[in-house]
Symmetry: C2
Subunit: 501 residues, 2 copies
């Protein structure tokens, strides 16, 4: 059946906005991965101009008219599809109302400042000097507070920012969840064993690339629709249908770092690839549901799969061959134990799956205080270092391994960090359910490197659902339970048991 | 002195258009060099949408109002700068009037079809089958004829297209110039010697890359403002201030091909880099003057420099080292003669500097007939092959080495080819004059690899002039003569003499 004209009209306008949002993603990917350094200023202006344009279109009265007319014409549709259309317009209006609250100049300013800040953060990190970045960070904090004011909030400014990444989440609820989690984690961290790096020598970037380049396709993301590159900080982005980009970084002395970067980012891109395959893509429904759900997909492939015995049983001989090693150089058991080793580290992205959540909790507490005005930018290094001492017992030697280590604040992404731990919680819950439904699938992982059961299960239960349901309903439908941390705790406990016996 | 507000207003609108035209260049570069294949359809839609947007802005009434108000306010400026402002608005209006003549839907359609055609051309070339591309090419010819009709012409449709690449050029004048040139070339081709490939073995892509990556910086284009990549067909593009991209392609059995690709594209990018350094960039004046002038810059570095004795005296030891060869493997004299060898070949981009222009003349004749409706797309392979037999005495075995070899028609770029030979003519004339003014500079080339005299001379005489003058005036001012082919003929004659003694 042909759609009523009003629905076509509204979708046409929506697709145009989406098309240009994806143009901005191309500009951004290129600036991180390819662009020569002197191109930055002009590129910042381009990214800001595209952001301003899409914001103008999103907040344009004609678009609201299209949406309202579309809403009315839903009654002409068969009853069976009406609720889906109502949901589509509802999630769009949620996004649009946020956009409506931000003046166009603010959006442009924010895009421009974050693009400049990124280069300055990278430079400050390189020279290990927080002071050279603190003025720009102060500007970003002020802009973010202003943004929170524009959005509005009932309890605290931080909630307004958090909501952009995890719809409906509230800081005080997260605080409770995180406190409980921390309490369960403490005894696990205390008993979790540390194993030493079993690599007999450093591994060249070239050899690592050979192995890493196999991984996306192994999990189900082919080079026909994706590519893998190198950047300072691993990331993934969807540039449109049939075009997912992932990056990692290489350390010759820590060759697992690049591998887990690829597994993580592939997980993100598999989700985006599934979303792009939804009917009528792109619509407001075919967007990712929340960052917590997005992160659950990356964590699932990185941890539940990527640190599992079946996965390593399959890839171990390939890794040996690509790395030019023999079994004696790198015994399987030592490698597998090291992959699941627990150690308090200073740097979040090097953290193991047990201590990782403690890093997140630390960041959540700091950024919440920062946005709510309880602490000052200038005091950040001291606050950071003190908390690291308290939570990890570690002494931070310089800002590069301390407060400057993460890219997020330089992007103005305050409220983003908690979604990582939400992702860990969701991923454990999802993988548990999958394993119950497909108890024999792990044999296919180890024997054939065949992960299709898992990918198909995620496609069916998560990727193809887009924004049709809220997070709670989605998790309920997929697993029969509301989101809860018990599966994460039980997964981590099981893992410790597995590698110590 | 601050500019009158009307001039600021008009320039602001201009810069916005330019900013988005450069966004389209990013999208295009990425699609040629980086994009996974399944991204093509969506990317085509993006490129078309940006083209439509900038076309809308260019043809918008408000822009015309800005220009007209700006024109009036020029009288408020000091007399000394008035003529430059008048010229700026004049060249803009020339461009704008062309844009005004094309309906927005046509521009979008043209961009979309050419983007699709590119992939189909590449595939057809790969499988050596013209028929699989002929329907799309027919569509492009029809669109181009329609474009010629929109632009308007007095003598023949082809002139309307030619004018887009070489302002004011006329096919019948080019026909006369090319006939004369052909006449002079015939005896040169007859006496020019062919030398055999002196490489003792194939050279890996990796080794070639090592050498090629040195070349842009050697000529004056640093990695701070540029990057070199690989694509099917070498090209260069400016993505904005401080961001020039060049590509080449690698053949293990023909290691000079990648080198001359890089030299050629570096020449283009040096011109663009100089234009970006003009005061107040970007304005309509800071654009390249014509494709003939653009090509003169690439040809000059590729041929006058890149096939010269001083250049090779400097790079020879570096090449040996990078390629893992010793002098005995690749004697200097044999290499240098081969670089300047003349041989009738089937493929334009593999042609030497003597026969190259015969390839252009052939294409000019065919595309002129095609656009003027004297020949049909379906007959192209036969026409092509017959002409190759006549002009070169060569038998074309398949379409990949015949009518499908060039990218241009798949881009809808009819009228582009003649600018290559115009570029050869201009480059010889410019280099002759430079050599007269800096007779000792060639020693700096060979002793130190120092090409700064030449780059500075080109910056001063060509790059910093943008569109201030027309081609004839620019060449007059730089060389004291109107453009003429006698320096090209004399250069080629001198070269033959040099390598045969």
């Amino acid at each position: 059946m042909a759609l009523p004209q009003a629905l076509e009209n509204y979708r046409k306008q929506y697709r145009k906005i989406k098309l240009f949002q994806d143009v901005a993603s191309v500009l951004h990917w290129d600036s991180e991965v390819m662009m020569p350094e002197e191109g930055r200023e002009y590129r910042s202006a381009q990214i800001a101009a595209v952001a301003e344009l899409t914001h103008d279109w999103m907040t344009d009265k004609s678009f609201l008219n299209h949406i309202q007319t579309a809403k009315q014409s839903i009654s002409e549709l068969p009853e069976s599809v009406r609720s889906l259309w109502n949901r589509e317009l509802e999630v769009l209006m949620e996004e649009k109302e946020k956009a409506d609250k931000l003046p166009s100049e603010f959006v442009s300013e924010f895009a421009k400042v974050t693009n400049l800040a990124h280069a300055e953060w990278a430079e400050a990190k390189k020279v290990k000097d927080f002071q050279s970045f603190s003025k720009r960070l102060e500007e970003l904090v002020q802009l973010s507070k202003k943004q929170a004011d524009y959005f509005g909030y009932t309890t605290e400014p931080y909630d307004a920012l958090l909501d952009s990444y995890e719809k409906g989440a509230k800081a005080n609820q997260i605080q409770i969840l995180f406190s409980d989690l921390k309490e369960s984690l403490v005894p696990i961290v205390a008993t979790a064993p540390k194993f030493k790096n079993p690599f007999p020598r450093s591994i060249s970037v070239e050899k690592q690339k050979k192995f890493c380049n196999r991984l996306p396709a192994l999990l189900g993301l082919t080079t026909k629709e994706s590519r893998l590159d190198t950047s300072n900080h691993p990331f993934s982005t969807s540039l449109g249908k049939g075009d997912k980009r992932i990056t990692t970084r290489y350390s010759e002395t820590d060759p697992l770092s690049s591998i887990f970067g690829v597994l993580h980012e592939t997980g993100h891109s598999l989700y985006e690839s599934g979303l792009s395959s939804m009917p009528d893509w792109p619509t407001p429904i075919t967007e990712f549901l929340s960052l917590g759900i997005h992160e659950s997909q990356s964590r699932l492939w990185e941890n539940q799969v990527g640190r599992s015995l079946p996965f390593w049983e399959f890839v171990y001989p390939i890794l040996l061959s690509d790395f030019g090693l023999i079994e004696k150089d790198l015994p399987f058991k030592e490698l597998y134990q090291f992959i699941n080793s627990t150690e308090k580290t200073k740097v979040r992205v090097e953290a193991d799956q047990v201590t990782y959540n403690l890093h997140i909790i630390l960041r959540f507490e700091i950024e919440r205080d920062l946005i709510n005005g309880n602490i000052q930018v200038k005091d950040l290094p001291e606050i950071w270092n003190t908390k690291m001492k308290e939570s990890f017992g570690l002494k931070i030697e310089n800002d590069a391994e301390g407060v400057l280590q993460d890219i997020h604040w330089s992007m103005g992404a305050f409220g983003y960090f908690p979604t990582y731990t939400l992702g860990n919680i969701f991923s454990s819950q999802l993988f548990k359910k999958f394993s119950e439904e497909f108890p024999n699938s792990h044999n296919k992982f180890s024997a054939n490197g065949d992960f299709s059961d898992l990918l198909n299960w995620l496609r069916k239960n998560i990727h193809s659902k887009g924004k049709i349901y809220d997070v709670d309903t989605l998790m309920q439908q997929a697993t029969g339970e509301s989101p809860n941390a018990k599966h994460l705790i039980s997964y981590l406990n099981g893992k410790i048991k597995e590698i110590t016996t």
